[in-house]
Symmetry: C2
Subunit: 308 residues, 2 copies
């Protein structure tokens, strides 16, 4: 039988790339020593049919293309340095819509104080926006520096975007988060300054990111009650016939930062955060449910290629 | 009437991006001051149906994705620093073919001595490879520093790829150039060292690139006899019912460097080059034909969107 890429999945393909290259640091971004600091670089491609909900405006497509890349800089605690844009658009796209995409890109660059330093266009059958974000960072926030007893926390509510993607009504916090995501750039820099022991951005879902930062002999215990899932959230999920824990753990696109930090440093942290669990030496990733039962969190996130 | 992007064309879209961003240097790449040098960065997206001839192997798709980006570094005379890869592939692509694309990328990175520092994959209906090349350069080779009397030259034969795209037979220099293009990275560095007064890489065609480097009150006179178009080339074009000058001037994809340099510096230049004309003060771009007639070269190159 001939193996297809869908037989192995996106994460395995990326692992294959990493294992075949001497120059790649397996973290949220590339880290390359440069003079007395590090150049932090990351590239991410958004494809209309995959990454832009049908209700998303052209402006917010452009904004999101910057956000997804800046979010990786945020996860390193980096200072932004420059953004490069490469986009492909259908030839029958209205010129005004093209300008709206660019307005979104430029507004996001302003919002994150990252200058747009390069831009190129191509033709394709759908909108494809590839961005590259460059940053600088003396001591990047890595994924694996945590210790037993550190707490695990997030920079904001999670699961909102996942629900937002499912709602028809656009005038609510969930749709707002799904259609107009923002990267936690300042928070990442503060986390680095206050001694966070790891950070990553939540794009593929909380479960998937927990597995991304897991290291041998360590584990995480997450507590459902700490996730602060509102009754409204549970009710809306129920009306849509969706499992609210599945939405919270396995969808993502929140662009909040997931981080670990010692309890001492946590107390000083001058940003909003929500502790959701702690680092253990269990070697597994588990969830204590509100009913007291403990279950293993599945390593399932939003992944291309893999058939359900 | 509602304007479409196809009504204005790709070059106008890029101009619109540049005019709306304070941070963009309008040259082959972005140039960002950093400590005592400049970070040179460029991003280019290749789309299977647009940029990969049907005879191109998966290996050479990957190789080309690096070449097109490194070629922009070459045009600045930059030293390579790192390459980031972001690709989208159909889910039914054979795993072995994916590996061949990656092999091509890695081989090209080795060839150009540019480390692959980041990689990501996505799903799309066709193969899309977006690359970002980073380089360093203290004094980049800009496009507009030439003077009256400088010669205009190229680093190799031009028009070969254009013919290669049209041929069924693959075992010839033309197909080789079309399917396995190489960037002139070392040549770009040498041109910078030996005082070239401008450089750009030939991707959209010689005519288009001449217009890209034209500045007010200056012009270029190109001489057909200096282009060294072989009888074989003319004959093959004729058999295909194609105008050989159209192939040479208006197709591109040669990835040779087009450059200007003073006559004194030209004599010392330790690389292969071919002088094709000179800088004039005519404010027009002209061609002296072999029959002695002079005609204006049209500003027509390979451009997406614009209907023929």
């Amino acid at each position: 039988m001939t193996l297809k890429v869908s037989d192995v999945g996106e994460k395995e393909l990326v692992k294959y790339i990493i294992s075949n290259s001497k120059g790649i640091t397996p973290d949220d971004t590339a880290i390359t020593e440069f003079d007395s600091t590090n150049l932090i670089s990351t590239t991410d491609m958004l494809i209309q049919s995959r990454h832009f909900p049908k209700n998303m405006s052209y402006f917010h497509m452009g904004f999101k293309a910057v956000t997804v890349n800046v979010s990786d800089l945020a996860a390193m605690g980096a200072e932004p340095f420059g953004f490069l844009l490469s986009m492909a658009i259908p030839k029958n796209l209205r010129l005004d819509d093209f300008k709206e995409i660019l307005n979104g890109v430029l507004s996001a660059c302003d919002y994150y104080s990252i200058p747009l330093i390069g831009g190129d266009t191509n033709e394709a059958s759908e909108i494809i926006i590839s961005g590259t974000a460059l940053g600088l960072c003396d001591e990047p926030l890595m994924r694996y520096d945590y210790n037993l007893g550190d707490v695990i926390a997030v920079t904001g509510d999670i699961g909102l975007a996942a629900l937002g993607f499912e709602l028809e009504d656009l005038d609510n916090v969930y749709s707002e988060k799904a259609l107009k995501p923002k990267a936690r750039l300042k928070e990442g820099q503060i986390l680095k300054k206050y001694g966070a022991t790891s950070a990553t951005d939540i794009t593929d879902g909380l479960a998937s990111e927990l597995y991304e930062i897991k290291k041998d002999d360590f584990g995480f215990m997450i507590h459902e009650e700490l996730l602060g899932i509102s009754d409204e959230y549970k009710q809306l999920a129920n009306e849509l016939d969706l499992d609210y824990l599945d939405l919270v753990f396995h969808v993502g696109e929140d662009f909040e930062l997931l981080f670990t930090i010692s309890k001492d440093n946590l107390e000083k942290l001058p940003i909003y955060y929500k502790v959701i669990g702690e680092v253990t030496d269990s070697d597994v990733i588990e969830l204590t449910l509100e009913n007291g039962f403990v279950e293993t969190i599945k390593n399932k996130g939003y992944e291309h290629y893999v058939s359900e």
